[in-house]
């Protein structure tokens, strides 16, 4: 550990803690999940980066959206995402969540994931290689350091719109809103301390 990183630890221990213990939700959302088992097992060993799969979303703060997202999965993703404690980060894998990818004309997959939940980073590829996943993790570190990975804050602030978009697809959602929708402005005020 060199001086800069000690400094960082002293300055913002919470950020450093979050950075080096990214626990991923155990949720195989799409075909990109096929590269996750190699990543978390011995050949590539994601634990060196502090990434391990967590049993439930309550224990996790990293959500890997691995590939295309069908409507049914999106519902599960939203629920899982809302269950995760803050701070939480999402990473979109591959082409499909960015702009539809292979399934750009499918009636059952969504084309832009960031219309429904915030996404902090995207990895190009179909599928992304394990190496790209690691580099993505290092990028996420930098973003956390610089305070750029603020997807969850955005979700809180603009929850009204996210919920709107979600309900455009599913009709009325069966679970209650995560944040009070009418008092959007109030929430915005106190975001900074939480970040």
């Amino acid at each position: 550990m060199d001086r800069t990183s000690i400094k960082k630890w002293l300055k913002a221990p919470d950020k450093m803690g979050q950075k080096y213990s990214l626990w991923a939700v155990y949720f195989c959302t799409g075909c990109g999940i096929i590269e996750v088992p190699p990543v978390i097992t011995s050949r590539w060993d994601a634990e060196r980066f502090g990434v391990i799969p967590a049993a439930t979303p309550r224990q996790a703060n990293l959500f890997l959206i691995t590939g295309y997202v069908s409507l049914k999965t999106l519902k599960a993703i939203i629920r899982t995402y809302e269950q995760m404690p803050e701070p939480k980060y999402t990473v979109g894998f591959g082409s499909c969540p960015i702009n539809g990818g292979m399934y750009w004309d499918s009636y059952n997959t969504i084309k832009h994931l960031d219309k429904y939940i915030p996404v902090d980073g995207w990895i190009a590829g179909c599928m992304p290689r394990p190496e790209a996943i690691f580099i993505a993790v290092t990028h996420l570190w930098t973003m956390i350091d610089k305070g750029m990975a603020k997807g969850y804050i955005k979700y809180r602030e603009k929850y009204k719109y996210y919920r709107q978009n979600q309900e455009k697809l599913f009709g009325k959602l069966e679970w209650p809103p995560l944040y009070p929708i009418d008092k959007n402005e109030e929430i915005q005020g106190k975001t900074d301390q939480d970040g």
Partner: protein, 621 residues
């Protein structure tokens, strides 16, 4: 058998064998400190060589995800027959299948072994594909490159991955061979050299076309090439012919002698052989015996206007055809006994049989165009009379006077046009045993090959030889490659890089040609201005010399007071506006007297333009 399959209950202790792996080297790759190179065939982000890319857009068409869009790049000045569009790839769509690589005809699109792009902004995921050659900024050498910054704009140089291979390409690089009469046989007579495709062959050849439409831009007349080829592939030559007739009313002629500018730019020709567009047009016109019934076109109601067309060459025929369809009365004057103009006398019979010309001309005549053959304007009928009698006049007179080398004794040489004309529609000419043809253009090739055939006919079994002398060396010889190859195959001798100095004459008989070595053909400004090494000389023996070094138009039929008002461009071509109209009132012009491109299809394009101009003009008045 049963025993073998009996289930063993296994052991509790044996599994501890696995402990031995504790003492072995771990298999973990300590990435990113220990890096693993992707394989040489890896399919990563795209590379595109902008110099090779033609902008044909096949990659965009084949992409299953519509990830590729062709973006116009204003900075690129496209070469003729290319577009200034380049593929832009959306990595929010791309599935890295590499179909775009396998369809890329010039092989400019490749996939690299870069695959890192991690970003929080989805708009960074589109990329105008370039490679290290054109883009020095974003392609870095190994020292500057770091995988932690790697992205679409921070890439490794020379990191080629999946590249195109002709053997496995999605297009067929080789043409369906055209059945031809072998050289030994064809040089003995004027039998048509190319036999034409059968239905099967035509379909197979039409199947090769990728529909990128580069050819349609290159064709002076902008024929709807990919459409008519598609119709041939679908087994409907009638449909194909209809498409052709929208822009070109003489397919039987054009399908044989067109210079095929389209084939020069065909994207398949970048690495393989271009689609045989000309032969397919010929197939369409040959497959339909009766144009009139197939096309079913009728002239519009008579407008009351009369148009005179002087010259029944390709341009004149086109004007006549289109104006007649628009309902005007058209009269065509020509001094030859039949239609076709230069096509009738120029191309030898083995390339363009008279029947094919007549097929096109007769169809146009059947629409109600009046042809007056064997009438020389200025001699049999005065231009002034025509000028008074008709509402509009089209000059499609072409170049009818052969140029001469003007070397010593050049009056003993035959002009090429006289030679060709006499052979085809005149009394015929007795050729010598050793013929020398001066010139390196297509006319020279025609003359030489025709002379060779005449030699074989007139001196059967004897030793005869035809030689050509041209200023230009092999690389800049103006004749098409195909022609040169055919001529060589028939045994014509070439002497490129030599200029004529003197025709040796003894007792009034030609004995040969004295030549000088050419120093350069063009001067520094690129103008034609040959210089010679006076000391390097060569004597070619021969008893007949034909000059085929170009032709000039003959305007002598136009009265002086009118001719003086006719404006010319600096390069001695008739000046016309965008409607084909000359400076003389109600006179339009096109073809060789207007264009620098001396070929039939340009004349057709001019004719089409003039027909529209004349129609506009007539309707306005």
């Amino acid at each position: 058998m049963k025993n073998k399959l009996q289930v063993k209950k296994g052991s509790f202790l044996k599994p501890f064998k696995a402990i031995k792996y504790l003492f072995e080297k771990p298999v973990t790759l300590r990435y990113p400190f220990e890096q693993k190179e992707p394989s040489p065939r890896y399919r990563g982000f795209h590379l595109n060589d902008w110099d090779k890319c033609t902008g044909c857009g096949n990659c965009a068409d084949i992409c299953p995800n519509e990830a590729i869009t062709m973006v116009e790049i204003p900075e690129i000045k496209p070469k003729p027959g290319e577009k200034n569009e380049r593929p832009q790839i959306d990595y929010g769509r791309c599935c890295f299948c590499g179909l775009c690589v396998d369809i890329c005809p010039p092989g400019s699109l490749r996939l690299s072994r870069d695959y890192f792009h991690i970003h929080f902004d989805t708009e960074t995921f589109t990329l105008l594909a370039k490679d290290g050659k054109t883009d020095k900024e974003h392609f870095l050498c190994a020292e500057e490159y770091s995988i932690f910054q790697a992205s679409l704009t921070h890439r490794k140089k020379n990191n080629e991955g999946f590249t195109s291979d002709l053997k496995y390409s999605l297009f067929e690089p080789e043409r369906v061979p055209m059945p031809q009469v072998p050289p030994e046989k064809r040089k003995l007579s004027f039998i048509e050299q190319v036999l034409g495709y059968s239905d099967e062959e035509a379909k197979k050849e039409a199947l090769r076309c990728l529909e990128c439409k580069l050819c349609e831009d290159a064709c002076p007349a902008h024929l709807k090439i990919s459409d008519y080829i598609k119709a041939i592939y679908e087994g409907r030559p009638d449909e194909s012919l209809k498409k052709i007739f929208e822009d070109n009313p003489i397919p039987a002629i054009c399908g044989r002698i067109c210079m095929a500018h389209c084939e020069e730019v065909c994207s398949l020709g970048k690495r393989g052989e271009p689609v045989a567009i000309r032969w397919l047009k010929r197939y369409a016109s040959d497959a339909i015996k009766d144009y009139k019934r197939t096309l079913g076109l009728k002239p519009a109601r008579f407008t009351g206007k009369k148009v005179a067309v002087i010259g029944a060459g390709p341009g004149g025929l086109t004007v006549a055809y289109f104006l007649r369809l628009k309902g005007h009365a058209v009269t065509v004057f020509d001094s030859l006994p039949g239609g076709g103009g230069m096509m009738r006398i120029g191309p030898p019979l083995y390339r363009l049989p008279i029947e094919s010309i007549d097929k096109d001309v007769n169809y146009i005549a059947s629409l109600g165009v009046e042809f007056k053959f064997n009438i020389t304007v200025g001699k049999d009928i005065l231009f002034e009379d025509i000028y008074k009698k008709y509402d509009a006049i089209y000059l499609g007179i072409g170049t009818t006077v052969s140029r001469s080398t003007r070397v010593k004794n050049s009056d003993k040489a035959y002009p090429a046009l006289l030679f060709l004309r006499e052979n085809k529609i005149g009394k015929g000419i007795k050729v010598g045993r050793e013929v020398i043809v001066i010139g390196g253009g297509n006319v020279a090739m025609d003359v030489a090959r025709e002379a060779l055939r005449l030699q074989h006919i007139q001196y059967p079994g004897e030793k005869v030889v035809t030689k050509t002398v041209s200023l230009e060396d092999w690389d800049i010889m103006p004749a098409t490659k195909e022609e040169i190859e055919d001529a060589k195959a028939e045994g014509i001798e070439f002497n490129p890089g030599w200029g004529p100095k003197e025709i040796k004459v003894e007792d009034g008989e030609v004995k040969g040609l004295l030549c000088m070595k050419v120093r350069s053909v063009f001067d520094e400004q690129g103008r034609f201005n040959p210089t010679f090494y006076e000391d390097k000389q060569m004597f070619l023996e021969g008893d007949m010399v034909i000059e085929a070094i170009g032709q000039a138009p003959d305007f002598s039929f136009i009265p002086k007071e009118l001719f003086d008002r006719l404006e010319f461009t600096p390069r001695r071509k008739v000046k016309v506006d965008e409607n084909g109209k000359t400076s003389l009132p109600k006179v339009f012009a096109g073809g060789d007297i207007v264009n620098l491109n001396l070929d039939a299809v340009t004349a057709i394009a001019d004719g089409k333009r003039a027909a529209e101009g004349i129609d506009l003009y007539l309707r306005a008045n």
